[in-house]
């Protein structure tokens, strides 16, 4: 269904607004944070979905879309909306099926000169250590009872069991363990679907990258140094979520919300994927508890993967992870809803902020930023395509205009089928190796879908959020090795 393109009112060079008169039922305007160039690349469904979000009961101020936005289900990917926790709603469509899909960044004391000669061996070892691909069973098996503890305690449980360092906790968003997670709100089916997947990468756009910190890519040199980066350093970044467990939690509650939304709560929405329930209702609260279990699973999943990465590096370089100074820089989520206090028209209110393919970007001094980084603003990890590189940013005070939210990645411009017609996985793999990026993938065929050309230019996305003021550049990180599902 092709909808008519709305008139986009220019607020600044990087903010564009859709007036509520565009669609019946819009309670607030839509606001897109984007350069003019990226705006031109957005598919028209984004406008339709963003303005649908603007009709949700209790939405406050704006329905936002980030520069990497593209159409999704319910909310667009890159969609952000806040609701009053007393009388607003919660919607699984504002979070996504892959709850706590997120990024983790780990540094080392190795340089490009140490790693380049061993890159094939390193990537092959990490590929062997960290299960990836469709399905994909964990190397470490947990019982269902242990899994229930994992989803209630997240990274904390993993570290207590020896799968990580104590300091990893304080370098993870929300300490890797969110409140309000209650396994009683989770179906047996979700547990059965996910309990054997802790520590697995998954597939699609999920990946693990060995990256090079080039001197010319250190933008904020002082902050980069403070956060442990130096020229020619090797770091590791990876992207994955809560796997089948989170997918099932979302599926279960979408079905439940579709049953009760109209019959019990007399609410109508414009798209089934926008199904919602009052946040304070039983169903809303149960979903919040189950979703937070999936948030914890996402953190735990990345914690176990970090454990595998440290083991892999130690194996290849003959030194312990401690000797290699493999400190985590940060772990951050880009698919979840969270309870946060924000200033709304001069008053502090508790809001349930939905971020779907959008990253928290808290500024200096905010309670959400761990003490280690509180003076600097939250570290933000933005993953690019496997060819182009990724970014480390910092949160800003100005980001309060978007409920402290920024972009999450590149955002697709080319469909998967189109990418498969345009690129061949095996050829792409060879071309990238010539460019100095060694890739090991479970599905070479699937690799074509992730070609750099299938995505928006990451630098343009970063330029947009930096110039809009909702986060600031610290450093760009470019890949030299990649493990793909």
């Amino acid at each position: 269904m092709e909808s008519k393109k709305p008139e986009l009112k220019k607020i600044t060079d990087y903010i564009w607004e859709i007036d509520p008169s565009y669609k019946d039922g819009m309670k607030v305007p839509g606001r897109i944070y984007s350069s003019k160039k990226l705006l031109g690349q957005m598919d028209t469904h984004v406008y339709d979905q963003l303005t649908n979000v603007a009709t949700l009961p209790g939405i406050i101020d704006y329905a936002f879309c980030m520069p990497d936005g593209h159409s999704g289900y319910g909310f667009p990917i890159g969609g952000v909306a806040a609701f009053d926790s007393n009388d607003g709603v919660i919607s699984p469509g504002g979070i996504g099926f892959d709850i706590n899909c997120g990024m983790r960044l780990v540094r080392t004391n190795l340089t490009i000169h140490d790693v380049k000669p061993k890159i094939r061996e390193l990537v092959n070892t990490l590929f062997a250590n960290i299960p990836a691909g469709v399905g994909g069973k964990s190397k470490t098996r947990f019982s269902k009872d242990e899994f229930k503890k994992i989803i209630e305690l997240g990274s904390r449980w993993c570290v207590e069991k020896g799968y990580g360092w104590e300091e990893d906790i304080e370098r993870t968003e929300m300490n890797g363990s969110v409140e309000y997670a209650d396994s009683a709100a989770v179906s047996e089916k979700a547990i059965s679907r996910g309990f054997n997947q802790v520590g697995t990468l998954g597939s699609g756009n999920h990946y693990l990258e060995i990256q090079h910190v080039k001197e010319e890519n250190l933008v904020d040199k002082e902050l980069a140094k403070k956060w442990g980066l130096f020229p020619d350093q090797i770091v590791v970044m990876f992207h994955c979520g809560s796997r089948g467990f989170g997918h099932q939690v979302a599926t279960d509650y979408l079905e439940l919300f579709l049953q009760v939304m109209e019959s019990k709560y007399k609410m109508k929405v414009l798209d089934r994927e926008l199904a919602c329930a009052p946040f304070q209702s039983k169903e809303g609260q149960d979903y919040f508890k189950a979703m937070n279990c999936a948030v914890n699973m996402g953190f735990a999943n990345r914690q176990l993967i970090l454990h595998g990465i440290r083991q892999g590096f130690a194996q290849i370089f003959g030194k312990s992870a401690e000797e290699l100074e493999m400190h985590q820089i940060y772990d951050i989520c880009h698919n979840r809803a969270s309870l946060e206090k924000h200033e709304v028209h001069g008053k502090t209110k508790e809001l349930i902020v939905h971020r779907k393919g959008a990253t928290g970007a808290f500024g200096p001094g905010r309670i959400e930023v761990p003490p280690l980084y509180r003076n600097d603003g939250q570290p933000i990890l933005i993953g690019g395509s496997m060819e182009t590189g990724s970014w480390l940013l910092a949160g800003t005070e100005e980001a309060k205009q978007t409920w402290y939210t920024t972009a999450h990645g590149s955002g697709r411009v080319m469909s998967r089928a189109q990418a498969t017609r345009t690129y061949r996985g095996d050829q792409l793999q060879r071309d990238m190796e010539k460019k100095g990026i060694y890739i090991k993938a479970v599905s070479v065929k699937g690799l074509a879908e992730e070609a750099g050309g299938a995505y928006k230019e990451i630098d343009e996305v970063i330029e947009s959020v930096h110039n809009a003021g909702i986060s600031k550049k610290v450093a760009k990180l470019v890949p030299i090795g990649n493990v793909k599902g």
């Binding site: 289900y73 892959d98 469709v134 399905g135 059965s192 679907r193 054997n196 099932q248 469909s415 599905s443």
Partner: protein, 150 residues
């Protein structure tokens, strides 16, 4: 069993259309489409293990949606993908207050095997069956359009 992947519906995901002369055929072709989004060459999936699937829903479209969710459930829970199905769907009428309401019941035996990266050409993981642009229609044939979240 006819199904085809179509382009241009949702930029980041996979869309398929499936059809069947009977509801059972539609269910089988849709399940094959979901599996084929994840695994190339379904003929390489041998019928080594089976799972019994029993489901109930108020409408045929909800039943199909639930059935496709089951395919994803077994892919993650047991690492199993299927290639052969024996499906029976029955309509059951039951009194509901003053009204009579229909329910649809599916009984299925699905046969397949564990995913083996050496034997099967894996493509991409499907996370969920969405309701986004889900179109279900009964004309001369049963037809459906489904968007898969990948």
């Amino acid at each position: 069993m006819p199904y085809k992947f179509i382009d241009g519906v949702v930029v980041a995901d996979i869309t398929f259309e499936a059809s069947g002369d009977t509801l059972e055929e539609l269910f089988e072709s849709s399940a094959n489409a979901v599996t084929n989004a994840m695994i190339d060459k379904l003929e390489r999936i041998e019928a080594k293990e089976e799972r019994k699937i029993t489901l109930e829903a108020e409408t045929e479209e909800k039943l199909l949606h639930k059935f496709l969710d089951e395919i994803l459930f077994y892919k993650d829970a047991d690492n199993i993908v299927f290639s052969k199905y024996k499906i029976k769907i029955k309509e059951k009428k039951a009194a509901h207050g003053c009204d009579e309401r229909s329910n649809f019941i599916l009984e299925c035996i699905a046969k397949g095997e564990e995913i083996d990266n050496a034997k099967h050409t894996v493509l991409t993981d499907v996370k969920a069956v969405s309701w986004h642009m889900f179109k279900f229609e009964k004309g001369k044939q049963w037809k459906v359009q489904v968007v898969l979240d990948v």
